[in-house]
């Protein structure tokens, strides 16, 4: 079997070939193989149920008792081997209805869904949003992510990085469409929780109420577990609440979605530090069956420069943002310098500005190009008047009488170190300078605070200072203890923490029910099969990503009001319609190959199909050459390309987009339906030497044959001998 071929698909192909070739001569063996083939086909199509593998096993037992000839033995050995070596792949197809290698095309998830660390079924919810079914869209999202509104505002959107529409023009604005749907569903009072399973009597302790902890708590509660969340802060949200400023994520958004989780019966113990206010032994005594650690990465790295500990005006960004989130509204200073180049540095700078600082400068030791912060965040900071000092290495915080007067720096240049092509900032001697400052905020990274984790003495930690887990199950080295979020990954993204929490909830459920853990992280699951939206090729190409309306700059410099105001409803519906529905078209390119190479027409200009080398795409160009022959549609395994007849027209559609439509014609002689005029002309040209043109009449094959026969019979040469 080829290394990258799906074993389910290979087995299906093997059995089909064996049966079709007639080599299985024994009737019973043939019947067994046909039955197995049918079951394997259902597994491949995502239609199999829980009993499929057991049924195949029974058939194999029957097969083993009857091996009348060498061919049957060979077939038996093949099946035994593939079912033994790749059993997990078969089970994965059944459980997830997904084919990781995309060989079983009809059930392959889209690139955006695969890109999402939580595995949200993006094309499905976009299609629902396009139709105005926001509550249904939210229900789909919450099957994989309990915080759609939060993610709609702050997600780093890896889905958009992989969006196939981005290969044509710009990615779909997936993130904000999600926020719109959540807001609208809540406004309509149609944002509801699914019904949880009945209580199963098992109790789980979740340490940390950040996105990872909330996600795990939500999915455990839905499975019937009693969940208690221990949180040292006075509210839920973790870094969502204390790390992300309110102008990006209003508190009400977090509160509303946390309340939905509380409604499922999850209890929160706030202002409670694990290891101090409540201990491992306390929780065990309460009957806790498993622990989930989502303690985040809340400790800031020190700058390690002179003067750092000499002045109270030196503060780390995490503490600063936390104080502001809790209610501190004092500006850190008039001239604030923030050290760092990530999103936390940008957040600290923009927060300082909103608190009234006259001048805020971000000092970063590398160049603009190498800043890890989101480009949109950097641009918004610049619009608000934040200054940037690139290639700037801080060397000392200077001041007197307990007050800072400046940040001594030295200019840097980027030089590749020996043996690596990675550019490192190197100080340029003699290029020292001082930035005027009365407050310095360090934002150079965070790490995990393990001070409350002593009771989990069997948990291994990595050399990076994070909790070591098996990423397929988020299981630590201590039985019954699971972990996810920043505590495992180091400072990372909200959606990764949510995805990790969801995986851990499932793994805890398996652990407590004696089920084996998966070998690798599960492939995302398609949640619905939503009909495609019909539109013209011109409309599909013309639609463009809307521009985000923003709060005016004066208000952005003075208040914590939300900066991104959101799209209006019309823009949202249009943007959702721009989706290419990659859950249906898996971009195999067969349609293009057949049109170009087999038919010689080359009507399909779908350059976006190639991941590594996308070229120009224009759906509108198809109509120029397409003859609606249907060869592309006939060879499309997923029914993404279809040929439909409607209202006197024959339409070629790709995932609902009408690439071409031509009049349906009828035979002048008998009234039978005919292909389009373009197709008839194409066939006539190809067969001109064999078939006479039908005297300018439109005739079906039968009538044409009759006419041709009439014309030819009298002229047939007669052999006199």
């Amino acid at each position: 079997m080829a290394k990258d071929t799906c074993p389910v698909q290979s087995t299906l192909q093997y059995l089909s070939d064996r049966i079709a070739s007639g080599v299985l001569t024994d009737p019973k063996v043939r019947r067994i193989c046909e039955s197995i083939r049918m079951l394997v086909e259902e597994i491949s199509l995502g239609e199999a149920g829980d009993g499929h593998m057991a049924a195949i096993d029974d058939l194999m037992t029957e097969f083993e008792k009857r091996t009348p000839d060498d061919t049957a033995v060979k077939t038996l050995y093949f099946l035994q081997q593939v079912l033994s070596d790749h059993r997990e792949a078969f089970i994965s197809h059944i459980e997830t209805r997904n084919c990781p290698s995309h060989d079983c095309g009809v059930i392959a998830p889209s690139p955006c869904q695969m890109a999402c660390p939580a595995g949200i079924d993006v094309p499905t919810y976009l299609a629902l949003i396009a139709e105005g079914k926001d509550d249904q869209a939210i229900a789909v999202i919450r099957e994989d992510n309990p915080l759609p509104w939060v993610c709609g505002l702050v997600c780093t959107r890896p889905c958009e990085m992989m969006c196939v529409r981005g290969r044509i023009d710009t990615p779909i604005s997936i993130k904000f469409l999600k926020a719109f749907a959540a807001e609208r569903a809540l406004s309509d009072r149609r944002y509801t929780n699914p019904n949880p399973a009945p209580p199963n009597g098992k109790r789980i302790c979740v340490v940390g109420a950040g996105p990872g902890g909330l996600s795990c708590a939500y999915y455990l509660a839905l499975m019937g577990y009693t969940v208690e969340v221990i949180e040292s802060l006075p509210f839920a949200g973790g870094m969502l609440m204390v790390g992300i400023p309110r102008y990006r994520l209003p508190r009400e958004v977090i509160d509303r979605e946390v309340a939905m989780i509380e409604d499922l019966g999850v209890t929160f113990s706030f202002n409670t530090r694990f290891g101090t206010d409540v201990t491992y032994e306390d929780m065990k005594a309460r009957g806790t069956d498993a622990f989930f650690l989502a303690i985040g990465a809340h400790k800031a790295w020190d700058l390690g420069i002179k003067g750092e500990t000499d002045f109270p005006q030196v503060i780390d960004a995490i503490t600063f943002l936390k104080n502001v989130a809790i209610g501190d509204r004092h500006a850190p200073g008039k001239h604030v310098v923030v050290i760092g180049g990530g999103n936390v540095a940008i957040d600290a700078a923009r927060t300082s500005l909103r608190l009234g600082a006259d001048k805020v400068t971000i000092a970063y030791r590398r160049s603009r190009e190498q800043m890890p912060a989101d480009i949109e965040e950097v641009e918004q900071a610049e619009e608000e008047g934040i200054a940037f000092a690139f290639l700037t290495i801080p060397t000392q915080i200077t001041g007197s009488d307990g007050r800072i007067t400046g940040l001594a720096c030295i200019k840097a240049e980027l030089i590749a170190k020996k043996g690596t092509d990675r550019l490192a900032p190197v100080p340029i001697l003699g290029k020292e300078f001082t930035i005027q400052a009365d407050a310095v905020i360090s934002a150079i990274g965070q790490y995990v605070d393990d001070s409350g984790m002593k009771a989990f003495d069997a948990v291994n930690w990595t050399r990076r200072g994070t909790i070591e887990v098996n990423h397929a199950s988020m299981e630590t080295s201590m039985p019954g203890v699971f972990a996810a979020g920043d505590a495992v990954s180091g400072p990372a993204t909200v959606i990764e923490a949510i995805g990790g929490g969801k995986r851990a909830a499932e793994a805890i459920h398996r652990h407590l029910n004696g089920m084996p853990q998966p070998r690798m992280p599960k492939i995302p699951v398609r949640r619905r099969k939503v009909p495609m939206i019909e539109m013209t090729a011109a409309e599909k190409m013309r639609l463009s990503r809307p521009v985000m309306p923003m709060l005016n700059v004066d208000r952005r410099r003075t208040t914590f009001q939300q900066v991104e105001l959101g799209y209006d409803e019309a823009a949202v519906r249009k943007e959702a319609r721009r989706c290419l529905r990659c859950d249906v078209c898996r971009r195999c390119g067969k349609c293009v190959e057949i049109c170009r190479d087999k038919m010689g027409i080359d009507a399909l200009h779908l350059g976006y199909l190639d991941f590594d080398h996308p070229v120009k795409t224009d759906f509108r160009l198809t109509a120029e050459n397409c003859i609606t022959c249907g060869a592309c549609a006939a060879n499309c395994e997923n029914n993404a390309m279809t040929l439909e007849e409607k209202e006197g027209k024959r339409m070629l559609k790709l995932c609902g987009t009408i690439l071409n439509e031509q009049e349906i014609q009828t035979c002048d002689a008998c009234g039978a339906r005919l292909p389009s005029a373009q197709y008839m002309a194409f066939i006539s040209d190809k067969t001109a030497d064999l078939t006479q043109k039908a005297e300018q009449r439109l005739l079906c094959n039968d009538c044409q044959r009759k006419l041709s026969a009439r014309n030819h019979v009298p002229t047939r040469p007669v052999n006199p001998t």
Partner: protein
């Protein structure tokens, strides 16, 4: 090598890093896009988030990745 968001990359070899788990051997040869690079301290030792074609999104050590091209928009 420093990775940036949007870099097209290939998992070209297994990593020696402790963060490399056995299932990641399935990723060798797969192409993808960097979705979250090493964060604020530009540490070559950081794990970076990569979305791999047909394999999902994972945090991988940097020594198993090489850049194919930069497609940042």
């Amino acid at each position: 090598m420093m990775f940036k968001r949007g870099n097209r990359v290939e998992v070209f070899q297994a990593s020696e890093d402790e963060a490399w788990e056995p299932y990641m051997n399935d990723f060798i040869g797969v192409h993808g896009v960097v979705t979250d690079p090493d964060t604020s301290i530009n540490d070559p030792d950081d794990l970076i988030e990569v979305s791999l074609q047909g394999k999902g999104t994972h945090r991988l050590p940097q020594d198993c990745l090489r850049i194919l091209s930069d497609t940042r928009q």
